[in-house]
């Protein structure tokens, strides 16, 4: 069955990535509120005086119209919403990380309005020059929840009992937070090598994360390790380019 040809109008959207297509066009990967990640061809966008050139910028909120029923649609119109300064410096590099997460972990044309709002808030916060770590952690968590890691942080994985603030936990994938004592009783090998990159988490960290509160330094540090482990797991071991770039920069 041929996909119905449809025209979408005035969709709030962000450009995630663009790459050259044919002699004068661009393929634009966008993240749209009601349609998720969509690939569009922007015809003539690489011509020297194309109006689209200055509009199809990442990290700028846009209104977009497109049409077509295939895998790659045709961009009809892109309009700048405004109100968002260009990202500069470290915030810009962080922005690339957000975009790479969306490109790598969301499927084409899978709508994620909640994740869209979380992304918009993250980019706006980066634009306001807020501290980067809490912004990234909040977005990573929103992304994982959207992808199905709904399993509570505030409840123990096995018993479902509330996490105790003073308890010490490991987060076992597909099981959830498990108290260290419970693991020891099981006789689970607490050999650090077997646990790999498993971070030790305080109950308070888990409760803070569940509440979206990253104001404590310990929460920030431990959640970074936990979220990185979960994202690596979701990526299936494929490294993130933006993370490699950031690491190489720190080594220079």
């Amino acid at each position: 069955m041929a996909a119905a040809k449809q025209r979408i109008e005035q969709q709030p959207a962000w450009v995630l990535h663009t790459y050259p297509w044919r002699e004068t066009s661009l393929i634009v990967e966008i993240f749209a509120r009601e349609h998720g990640r969509v690939a569009l061809v922007a015809k003539g966008a690489r011509r020297p005086h194309s109006q689209l050139r200055g509009v199809l910028l990442a990290f700028q909120p846009l209104w977009m119209d497109w049409s077509g029923g295939g895998e790659v649609k045709t961009l009809v119109r892109a309009e700048w919403q405004g109100g968002q300064p260009l990202l500069i410096g470290r915030a810009l590099i962080c922005g690339y990380y957000l975009n790479e997460l969306l490109v790598r972990l969301t499927a084409r044309e899978d709508p994620h309005p909640r994740l869209f709002d979380a992304y918009a808030e993250a980019v706006r916060a980066l634009g306001r020059g807020e501290a980067e770590s809490p912004i990234l952690r909040r977005f990573e968590l929103a992304l994982l929840q959207e992808l199905g890691y709904e399993a509570g942080l505030a409840n123990e994985g096995d018993s479902g009992e509330p996490v105790r603030p003073e308890g010490r936990y490991l987060y076992i994938i597909e099981r959830g937070p498990v108290r260290l004592e419970a693991l020891e009783e099981e006789g689970a090998a607490l050999d650090p090598a077997a646990l790999g990159e498993q971070p030790l988490l305080s109950g308070q960290t888990l409760l803070d994360m569940a509440a979206g509160d990253f104001s404590r330094a310990e929460t920030l540090g431990q959640s970074k390790q936990l979220l990185r482990m979960l994202i690596n797991h979701t990526l299936g071991g494929q490294p993130l380019q933006s993370r490699r770039v950031l690491k190489e920069l720190q080594e220079l």
Partner: protein, 197 residues
């Protein structure tokens, strides 16, 4: 010519940016049928360029010598080093006649989502060049795109940490614009209004 060498030519032409199977076929037939002299000239020029061209040891742009004539010119101001993405950007700045310093051509831009990082851009080579004695100021003239801005930020923080004075073209160039396609007056003004970062 056997059909397989025709296929090979068509396939080879597809390495050009923006050239798909259809355009490659059209080019191949044109070269073979309509313009054999042009085809021979293109083939020879390509082989010759590949043979003699290399990256200038000083500015990283293409040259036939160890050091290109511009870098070797004693009348240019060696205290200024202007960093651009591509040779076309360098040519544009030269046309403004507002700049008499030297250049460093990155031959690209930082683009994390395309896997272009500091290693691919050989930023270590730029650091070595910019920290040479006699360089008083490094002017970042990368494009005003997100990638150009990320490149400028990265180079600025790497060089700043090494005590090099760094400035950035001021934003006279339209947002999202590229130097190659901007009018010369704007580029000249942007050079005059360059700012510290």
């Amino acid at each position: 010519m056997s059909p397989s060498s025709l296929d090979e030519l068509i396939e080879a032409l597809r390495c050009l940016p923006g050239v798909g199977p259809k355009s490659a076929q059209r080019m191949a037939y044109h070269l073979l049928q309509r313009d054999q002299r042009g085809a021979a000239r293109l083939g020879n020029a390509l082989l010759h360029a590949l043979e003699v061209l290399r990256h200038c040891a000083r500015c990283n742009s293409f040259t036939e010598d160890e050091v290109c004539p511009r870098c070797a010119n004693p009348r240019r101001d060696a205290a200024l080093l202007c960093v651009v993405e591509m040779p076309a950007d360098l040519a544009m700045i030269e046309q403004t006649q507002s700049y008499n310093g030297l250049y460093y051509v990155l031959m690209g831009r930082l683009s994390p989502l395309d896997g272009v990082g500091p290693r691919e851009l050989r930023l270590d080579k730029l650091i070595a060049r910019a920290t040479e004695e006699g360089v008083r100021e490094v002017i970042l003239a990368t494009n005003f795109t997100n990638e150009g801005e990320a490149t400028a930020h990265t180079v600025a923080s790497l060089l700043g940490a090494r005590g090099v004075k760094v400035s950035r073209l001021s934003r006279g160039v339209p947002v999202g614009g590229e130097l190659e396609h901007t009018d010369i007056g704007t580029i000249g003004q942007a050079l005059i209004e360059r700012r510290a970062v």
